[in-house]
């Protein structure tokens, strides 16, 4: 990501009206940037750990349930049977 020397002049303005640039050296900028990025990573990791499930998140990956078709399945059916015995109750006829 090197800057282009032809289009990015290192001294855009010269003369008495020129603004003085800040005193921070390049190495300090690099250390500051590395620390900032690491801090953002650490804070974000802490935030993600304490907010595992965000229901308002724009993407909710589909959770596919694992089902094995070779496994036996339980089928439910009615166990009521008819009988040949005489009825013990009578229905009132009008």
């Amino acid at each position: 990501m090197a800057a282009n020397t032809h289009t990015l002049p290192l001294t855009p303005k010269t003369g008495p009206g020129r603004k003085r640039s800040g005193p921070v050296p390049a190495w300090a900028l690099k250390v500051g940037t590395a620390l900032t990025t690491l801090s953002i990573f650490a804070v974000s990791f802490g935030f993600a750990s304490s907010h595992l499930y965000i229901t308002s998140a724009p993407l909710q990956p589909v959770v596919v349930s694992v089902s094995d078709p070779s496994r036996s399945t339980t089928s439910l059916a009615s166990s009521v049977r008819t009988t040949t015995r005489t009825a013990v109750t009578t229905t009132k006829s009008s």
């Binding site: 800057a3 282009n4 290192l10 900028l29 974000s44 935030f47």
Partner: protein, 180 residues
């Protein structure tokens, strides 16, 4: 264990966004004098040249964590070829585009001496496209961007980059206007 990869992917994604924001801002800064209050243009440019050392690890951690995470279901092909995912096709695809652009920008910078300055400049300008796709990727798929704690700095960085990009573009067009 899987949740660790998920947390790692989210945290490294935000770190990569921050690192890329710094890389783009320090690239714009010398012409716009954005960071004059802080350091000289030479120091800012040295920082810009150094930023791949923080961008690459953060982006790689994000990608590897997503590959290892079972919830996101991202494959190796999805890292390089956009819009193949079965869900969030656009949102995740934009992240893939930004990875592709990042690779192009970094490789062409490393092989800068092998090409003309004009060609390198055009490749380097793809950084703006890369940042826009990265921002949209974060916005459309970022789990944590729904929180103000995360979204406010993310939006602030994007607005600052947008503003200073326009300012730089305006300054770049000024000499052409004088000539005509």
């Amino acid at each position: 264990m899987d949740l660790v990869f998920w947390e790692l992917a989210r945290a490294s994604g935000l770190a990569a966004y921050a690192a890329l924001s710094i890389a783009v801002l320090t690239g714009i800064a010398p012409r716009t004098r954005l960071l004059t209050f802080l350091a000289s243009n030479r120091a800012v440019r040295a920082l810009h040249d150094w930023t791949p050392w923080i961008v690459i690890p953060a982006a790689l951690t994000h990608i590897v964590a997503l590959l290892l995470d079972a919830t996101a279901k991202v494959g190796v092909l999805d890292v390089f070829v956009p819009f193949l995912m079965s869900y969030g096709t656009l949102a995740i695809g934009l992240g893939t585009v930004s990875v592709d652009v990042l690779i192009i920008v970094l490789v062409t910078t490393w092989f800068r001496r092998a090409m003309s300055n004009g060609a390198w400049q055009w490749f380097h300008r793809l950084s703006y496209v890369g940042f826009v796709t990265l921002f949209l990727h974060a916005l459309l798929s970022g789990t944590d961007l729904t929180s103000p704690l995360i979204s406010v700095p993310a939006w602030a960085a994007a607005i600052a980059i947008g503003y200073y990009t326009l300012e730089r573009a305006g300054k770049a067009l000024q000499p052409a206007r004088v000539r005509t």
